[in-house]
Amino acid sequence: MSTGMSQITTWLRDPNPTSRRQARLGQAFMAWLRMRRNPLAMVGLAIVAVLLVMAAFAPWLAPHDPITQDLSNRLLPPLTPGHLLGTDDFGRDILSRILYGSRITLFIIGLVAVTAPVFGLLVGTVAGYFGGWTDEILMRITDIFLAFPKLILALALVAVLGPGMENAILAIALTSWPPYARVARAETLTVRTSDYIAAVRLQGAGPARIILGHVMPMCLPSVIIRVTLDMAGVILIAAGLGFLGLGVQPPLPEWGAMISAGRKYLFEQWWVATMPGLAIFIVSLGFNLLGDGLRDVLDPRSAGR
């Protein structure tokens, strides 16, 4: 077993890789080693991993159904046998609801993470690479979006589109792309004057090829770091929309909506609102720690490339 492992690591560490795939994997392995040196990043990674496991195995991990009501057992305190984190005002097991709620949270994060950064990256690189009027127009549009507080703009959008999970996701994505456009544009401005872009232009490559093949890969690490750091914000906005009743609708166990439901009992039955609040807090912290660690690993400048 250990000889198999060491064979793999020597293959990854080979200074003269025989294929491009081996070279890439070797780079990823070195990045992983750098990441492992940062204990806080590993804590963040562990939290995110636990979130993924929770979401994937919710039906097997949850002791009770998250939706079925049992009014005879309502508002049981934590550590009651059978209800580790207590029950809410409809007698539903809070632990089970948090476990199922991780699926909703992850779904929202995932959809926002694949839409907003892609759009922002496209806007930012195009604006940065072409400059001039293109830049002016695209960045002024970005500024308009940035002029509103994210949550307010998301609220307005949901109010127009109507409440619901899909609309909440759409609203969050539409309000969170401008920072990525800014980051990508700033990165593009430094990259586009570099000699290797000049070399590619000398080969006769057109703007599309340069932006997609050379500029975007250089912007990607900054954007990925930014996305990871923003995930906490996305979770909070989603929770905020849920809290205000504009996001995921009851009886689905969304964390923000759960806090909202527990608000009425905050002083006597504190656990109803506190438990989902803790879940939001821990997951946000996890993404922030992971983002910080990724910055050290992915940033080409600090990595000494």
């Binding site: 003269n16 070279a23 000699d195 070399a199 000398l202 006769g204 890969p217």
Partner: protein, 348 residues
């Protein structure tokens, strides 16, 4: 040495590269930085033209404008009969393989996220229809040509030393069999011990592949080693363009004289050239002096220099100088339209 009547591979006519300055709230166009202000020269096939001058004199800008990395403000750049400066994008793209560039900073000119073989193969993806295996074979061929071990093919640029990186840059420039290569200070960022290796490699490749170089550098001894003819630039204009040996033996333009007096003599027993220390700073290219651009610092300046701009003219066979010391003291400069054409036959 060379057939003096052959058509030059590269001919540059009155190339100008002005960068506009915008000031004020309304971004008004208030002036231009005249980085290159009327440069003319020609390069014969197989020749190496050295382009020297101090920092900021516009020599790198000449190189970049020549290959349309900048859009030239005015002038013609004729390479193999086609005017690069006005070519439409598609024709320019097809022309690209003919002319390539080796950059100053080998670190900055290689994409840090691509492996060596991907970097060298990229021009072929753009311009040829070779299969992946054929490309890989050509990459190995090029790596052999520039002296890189084939085992390094899948390494990333940061795993190489400066000299090796510059070899990668040279291999990439050679990938499409160019005829004309602009070397933009290719050795300035390298250790002295590595400089000679790279220059020798460039010379070997020139012999083997019949390349033509424009060698931009501020290292006068290295230019003396590699160039056939040398152009000395000052403030966006050519001060003197002469065959190498003649220039280094006896520079004609006062600026060339001052510049070359700074070169160390390898033999300490030989009489040391009198050092000429220029006073003052280079004037701003946004606001060059009226008359000769060198008149503010020239030790031999006289009244005419301050009012009339000297044109580049042939004062000895093959030697071109832009200085009133060598032009007949007539009221008008008879040579105003002539210089860019009469240097075709200029060669040692």
């Amino acid at each position: 040495m060379r057939d003096t009547m052959t058509e030059p591979l590269v001919r540059v006519d009155d190339l100008k590269m002005h960068f506009p300055i915008y000031t004020g709230v309304f971004r008004r166009h208030t002036g231009d930085v005249k980085a290159v202000d009327g440069v003319s020269f020609s390069i014969q096939p197989g020749e190496t033209l050295g382009l020297v001058g101090e920092s900021g004199c516009g020599k790198s800008t000449v190189g970049r404008a020549l290959l349309r990395l900048y859009e030239p403000t005015a002038g013609r750049v004729v390479i193999e009969g086609e005017d690069i400066a006005t070519l439409d994008p598609e024709a320019l793209r097809r022309k690209r393989p003919t002319m390539q560039m080796v950059f100053q900073d080998p670190q900055a000119s290689l994409n840090p996220r691509m492996t060596l073989s991907a970097i060298i193969a990229e021009p072929m993806v753009e311009h040829t229809s070779l299969t992946a295996e054929e490309r890989q074979a050509r990459v190995f061929e090029l790596m052999d040509a520039v002296g890189l071990n084939r085992r390094f093919a899948n390494r990333y640029p940061h795993e190489f030393s400066g000299g090796q990186r510059q070899r990668i840059g040279i291999a990439r420039a050679l990938a499409l069999n160019p005829k004309f290569i602009i070397c933009d200070e290719p050795i300035a960022a390298l250790d002295v011990s590595i400089q000679a290796q790279v220059v020798n490699l460039l010379e070997d490749l020139q012999d083997k592949l019949g390349l033509t170089y424009l060698f931009i550098s501020h290292d006068l001894s290295m230019v003396r080693h590699i160039a056939d003819r040398v152009a000395v630039m000052y403030l966006g204009r050519i001060a003197e363009l002469s065959p190498r040996d003649a220039l280094y033996a006896q520079p004609l333009h006062p600026y060339a004289e001052a510049l070359l007096s700074a070169v160390n003599e390898p033999d300490p027993n030989r009489a040391r050239r009198e050092r000429i220390i220029l006073k003052g700073d280079v004037p701003s290219p946004a606001n060059p002096p009226k008359g000769c651009s060198f008149c503010t610092r020239c030790p031999k300046v006289f009244a005419r220099c301050r009012v009339e701009r000297p044109e580049l003219a042939e004062v000895q066979p093959g030697r071109f100088v832009a200085c009133h010391l060598y032009t007949p003291d007539a009221g008008q400069t008879g040579a105003s339209g002539v210089p860019e054409h009469n240097q075709q036959g200029a060669s040692s």
